[in-house]
Amino acid sequence: MARKLKPEFEDSIVMLLFIVVASIPMAVPIGIPVQVDAMTNKLYNIIENLPDGGIVLYDLTILNWFTNFQSDIAILKQILRRVRTGELYLVIMNEDTGSIMGIDKAWNTLKLGDLQYGVQWVWLGLVPGAENAEAAVAANVWAAKETDHYGTPLSQLPLMQRFHSIKDLVLVCTGMNTSPDPPCRQFGGKGVPLILQNGISTIPLMMPYVEAGVIVAYMTPGLQTAGYEKVLGELGLATSFADAQSVTVLYALLIMVLSNIMYYRRRRMKK
């Protein structure tokens, strides 16, 4: 019977079962404890120990609410804690239109309403051009963008009077979903710590930069972000997905085994 099944139906069954498996933790919470790794603690301590009065640039680049954005939101929550106490100041920019699209949801989650716009934080909005945008902002943000997202000239924003280039910052945070090379080239190695939020599969790509000290800490969605939320004491999206991630990983491993069994069975039948 399995031999007659068309490949597209096989895929459909795999996906259908995936939906069922991923739904199990909603009905029966597993509650596996989340462990906090050394990199997560390092990232947390870097933000906690940033000098008072410093400006942080957050380059929000990716919109995938359930993966990369959960890490962005968690990191921003920690930075905003210190912004609220007047210890840090925050400038946010976006490199692509995708991250702009879901930004309202991010602002609602972060509850920025109590902050004084222009003084405690500024949103530069879209700075298109990918790596070129990073290079331009790092070299001279005033030449890269004349106004903020709302069209207010930078000259009218008190916070921007202290931010002209990367040298005025105490930290740059940015997100990628592929190669970490562009932000490392443009923000890294300039005397300002760089924190990178990137997909889990890109850890090996980031490691050479981590060992070289270009990336001081990284954050990946899923388990690491769940651990970070635990350290923060603010459970969020990553924590709520931790159980689902565990069962889907087990399901994926089962699929790998089944895929190989089917493959070898068919090969033997062909012979």
């Binding site: 945008a133 001279n140 030449a143 890269a144 490691m207 050479p208 388990l223 895929s259």
Partner: protein, 202 residues
């Protein structure tokens, strides 16, 4: 041939700007002009969105008009594009609804689940000793990335950390160095006028 159509002009502009930016970066001279040149890049990137709109309209309208293969999908795509574009500029709550209830969940479902599972199902077949090594690495790394991994066995964490820190990091260090050398070669080729891909030549 018209002077304006000669390829030496864009090549000269490209090389002069690139050499200027490199010199400015390493000497600190003319930094303001270099910053302005970079901001031109940002302005050009903004126009890329306009080119995208023209391109998507042209390709799909032509496909629908000529009834080429898959034209009904073009109707769906073009309709969604128009609806989304209009709603974004006319009715903000509707735009937010589309983003929060359609775009974000569908994107997450596709990228995080179905796409990955499809790759696992089709791509994890052990056909050689090398693919077996990859599959074993995937098993340890996947379990390491989920909270269930350390619960099954603490050894999973040790093995996965070793895989991450040594074999994969070693390989990607070589890849990173290779990319760096490749970029340097690209710059040298461009300065010598040998690199012409930006003119549409191979």
């Amino acid at each position: 041939m018209s002077v304006l159509r000669r390829r030496e002009i864009p090549m000269a502009l490209y090389i002069i700007v690139m050499v200027y930016l490199i010199l400015s970066n390493y000497t600190g001279l003319g930094k303001d002009v270099a910053a302005n040149i970079r901001s031109w890049g940002i302005a050009i990137a903004t126009f890329a969105a306009l080119i995208g709109v023209i391109s998507i309209s042209y390709i799909h309208l032509l496909k629908i008009y000529r009834r080429r293969a898959g034209w009904p999908y073009s109707i769906v795509l073009f309709t969604c594009f128009i609806v989304y574009f209009v709603v974004a500029h006319v009715y903000t709550p509707g735009y937010n609804w589309i983003i929060n209830n359609l775009s974000i969940p569908l994107g997450a479902a596709f990228l995080s689940g179905f796409n990955t599972l499809g790759v696992i199902f089709r791509g994890s077949r052990v056909r050689s000793i090398w693919s077996l090594l990859i599959v074993i690495s995937v098993v340890f790394t996947a379990l390491f990335m989920a909270s269930v991994g350390p619960v099954i066995s603490p050894a999973i964490v040790s093995v996965a950390t070793w895989i991450k820190d040594y074999p994969t990091t070693g390989v990607f260090r070589a890849v990173t160095v290779g990319i760096g050398i490749g970029l340097l070669m690209l710059v040298v080729r461009a300065i010598l006028g040998m690199e012409k891909s930006y003119l549409g030549e191979m």
